[in-house]
């Protein structure tokens, strides 16, 4: 009987559990003590395992039920991905580019690594979207959406050319990426220096090939509030609760204007909002708000923040935007 890799995986889980229950599989492992020697913890049930067991392998093992096409993926991509990755997968403001770059891996130019030019397996695309994307809302996509987005990214990279090709548990692993053959095992150690102690080289041949720019580093240090290491400044940096919450939970969108968020420091953008009053701003930030330009998720999606934390962050943003 044919079994999809996923069914085989489920079977392993069940077999494992059966073995544990019957104490049949409690044989000695590679070395040392019998399994279950300490007996700490609880047995993991198949339902518990299924909830966290999200990983997918190149052979398709671990793929959930579901399906999607590039046609469907385009709309999801525009809504949930394009603000960072660009409508054509070109990448925006330093966020990763997802398409293009074919033929750039060798030669003199800078390599442009994308799904099409660099990645080795289709499964990795599915697995990564499913485990970590969208960046601000990981684990929020349904399997059909992940299949559709994977299909769209394959289409965007000219890996598949049929917008209606159905990606699912059985077809995904059949789609191969062009760079797959170009991955090789670790070849290190691949250098063979020797321990010479004297007359190791001609002093006259020593030439400085490159030198770091001190000014660059000083600018960086200055940005981060440091004058010099030799000056003992006893004034510790004052970090307010608001700024701290902002840095961790709000800056991603409000620092960049991502997803229609008003940027901190954008006086014009904040004027009307500030005029609406603190109570309204607090309410929108805590409970969430559908604005004209975008959506403010309740507490920015960071539900572990207290209301006071959120208010402090709002105060900080207001203070910085007047």
């Amino acid at each position: 009987m044919f079994k999809s890799p996923n069914q085989v995986k489920t079977m392993w889980v069940r077999l494992g559990l059966l073995a544990a229950v019957l104490v049949l599989g409690a044989g000695v492992t590679q070395a040392g003590k019998d399994s279950g020697y300490y007996g700490y913890g609880q047995a993991a049930s198949p339902e518990q395992i299924a909830g966290w067991d999200i990983d997918v392998r190149p052979d398709g093992l671990g793929l959930p039920e579901g399906s999607g096409t590039a046609e469907e993926g385009e709309w999801i991509y525009e809504e949930k991905c394009a603000s960072c990755h660009g409508s054509f997968g070109e990448g925006v403001d330093g966020y990763p580019s997802l398409a293009g770059g074919e033929g750039t891996l060798s030669g003199d130019g800078r390599p442009h690594k994308t799904i099409g030019s660099y990645w080795n397996y289709t499964s990795t695309v599915f697995d990564y979207i499913n485990r970590a994307m969208p960046y601000t809302a990981p684990r929020s996509l349904e399997p059909d959406e992940v299949y559709s987005l994977t299909a769209y990214l394959l289409f965007m990279n000219y890996i598949i050319d049929d917008e209606t090709f159905e990606l699912n548990q059985d077809t995904l692993a059949t789609v191969r990426l062009p760079n797959e053959p170009n991955f090789i095992p670790d070849e290190r150690p691949d250098t063979a220096n020797t321990r010479c102690m004297s007359d190791c080289r001609d002093p006259a041949a020593i030439e400085i090939k490159s030198q770091a720019s001190p000014s660059l580093s000083e600018e960086l240090a200055a940005q981060q509030g440091e004058v010099s290491d030799t000056v003992v400044e006893s004034q510790p940096a004052v970090v307010t609760v608001g700024k701290s919450v902002y840095d961790r939970s709000c800056m991603l969108c409000h620092g960049s204007g991502l997803a229609g968020a008003p940027k901190v420091g954008d006086v014009d953008g904040w004027r009307a909002r500030i005029a609406a009053g603190s109570a309204t701003l607090y309410k929108h930030a805590i409970e969430g708000y559908q604005g004209e330009a975008g959506v403010m998720p309740a507490k920015g999606g960071f539900m572990n923040l207290s209301d006071d934390d959120v208010k402090a962050a709002v105060d900080y943003m207001v203070q910085e935007s007047q």
Binding site: S35, Y40, E187, K209
Partner: protein
């Protein structure tokens, strides 16, 4: 009168007045005086009186003529406020935001081989999660006899071990592949830290669940928003991989994976999954994003090395460095750090002339396998320009390569695993600059 002088004068008056009183009056005075003094000290502390630079004898410094703070002034202590310049820093242009980003260890100001937990470099792929230990669980499943879920209490019942190891991001120094760029030791080598890690050997947990004969790899996965995942060969998992809950004698800092992380000694840091929630045994690697798209090493011919786990032998001089310029001519204690993911450091040699002649340095710390090792040697600097290098050799006989050797083998586009001999140029004025030489 400045605040320091004012305080000194008050203290003097209190002391003199007290001497002239007797019996009950004196005791009463002392009670009041102590209250008064306490208030004066608090005011002084709040005003941040600058440190006195020349508290030389015969003068008695103020802190010798007053009472200090009581116990529990800080129930959990912090570094002296005069050390507030010792902090992690980031390079803003490296990443588009600070959520998926990295900060660097301030190596120039650290001593010995243990990195204080509070300044150990950070690497997050989806920000720092806030995890309550009572809500956190570690699930171990896959090709095992007995899949289990462990609470933190369960995990901490297993036999524990403590080991000193470095954890280093494979991108440490990666900005230098195409030429000298970062003029701070913190940025050129600061994606590393070394700590005492306490936890359970992964082999203990794998024995407990019983790995099936076909099990060959272990997938480790984090609980944070990135659910960061890496495939680890079973051989390593059964050798020295640690499931860690404590660092430097206390529970892990949130930034370092609280409440539980993996530590793969000597291997690239991203395999030491933080906020660990799941370990799955399988018969093949998973080829996830952080072991394919990232953390693979592109070679000049367009091929890429995968599963380049080991952090090879490396070293750097930490004094002098751009942050610690030469102060004045004379005898200088030059020191630095060496480490190897393959084992112990065997020798470190230092050159002051760009690699023409070398002198062997002494080890000034304990030498542990896969740990930072501190070396030092005396140098008589007479104000001449110099080019300082260090070259480490590990107990496999591997000699740290030159930039030329590294580029000949790997080109300039491999991003990771740059462990070339580093050069600090010392100028006649004592300033120190990061350079690369032919």
């Amino acid at each position: 009168m400045n605040k320091q002088a004012e305080l000194d004068s008050l203290l003097q008056q209190v002391a003199v007045s007290g001497e002239n009183l007797k019996g009950a009056d004196r005791r009463d005075f002392l009670r009041k005086g102590l209250t008064f003094l306490g208030a004066a000290s608090a005011t002084a502390a709040a005003a941040h009186i600058p440190a006195v630079k020349a508290a030389l004898p015969p003068r008695e410094p103020a802190y010798g003529k007053a009472l200090g703070k009581p116990v529990l002034f800080a129930p959990y202590g912090s570094p002296s406020e005069y050390e507030s310049h010792v902090q992690r820093r980031t390079v803003e242009w490296l990443t588009p935001d600070r959520i998926s980003s990295i900060s660097f260890t301030p190596l120039a100001d650290l001593k010995g081989i243990i990195t204080p937990s509070g300044v150990m470099f950070e690497r997050y792929h989806a920000g720092l999660p806030d995890i309550k230990p009572q809500e956190h669980h570690l699930m171990i499943h896959g090709m095992v006899d007995r899949p289990i879920i462990l609470s933190m209490d369960d995990l901490m019942r297993f036999p524990s071990v403590s080991k000193i190891h470095f954890v280093e991001c494979p991108a440490n120094g990666g900005m230098e592949w195409r030429g000298a760029q970062m003029n701070r030791l913190q940025f050129s080598h600061g994606m590393i830290g070394c700590a005492e890690w306490t936890g359970v050997l992964l082999s203990t947990l794998l024995e407990e669940v019983g790995v099936k004969p076909e099990g060959k790899w272990v997938l480790a996965e984090g609980a944070d928003g990135s659910h960061m995942s890496r495939s680890i060969p079973l051989e390593k998992a059964l050798d020295d991989t640690l499931v860690v809950y404590a660092q430097n004698g206390e529970m892990l800092r949130p930034e370092q994976g609280y409440p539980v992380r993996l530590v793969n000694p000597g291997w690239e840091g991203n395999t030491s999954i933080k906020w660990l929630r799941r370990l799955e045994v399988g018969d093949q690697p998973w080829y996830h994003r952080e072991e394919t798209s990232k953390y693979t090493d592109l070679m000049p011919d367009g091929r890429s090395r995968e599963f380049t786990f080991v952090q090879e032998c490396n070293s750097v001089v930490t004094n002098p460095c751009p942050e610690k310029p030469m102060m004045k001519p004379g005898k200088v204690w030059v020191e630095g750090l060496a480490w190897s993911g393959r084992g112990k450091i065997k020798h470190v040699d230092v050159s002051f002339d760009g690699g023409v002649t070398w002198r062997e340095a002494k080890f000034t710390s304990e030498v542990f396998p896969r740990a930072l090792t501190r070396f030092g040697l005396e140098w008589n600097w007479q104000g001449q320009p110099a080019m300082i290098q260090s070259r480490a050799i590990d107990d496999t006989g591997f000699v740290q390569p030159t930039y030329g050797q590294l580029r000949a083998a790997r080109g300039e586009n491999s991003i990771y695993h740059k462990n070339a001999i580093h050069t600090w140029k010392v100028n006649a004025d004592g300033s120190v600059v990061n350079v690369q030489i032919s």
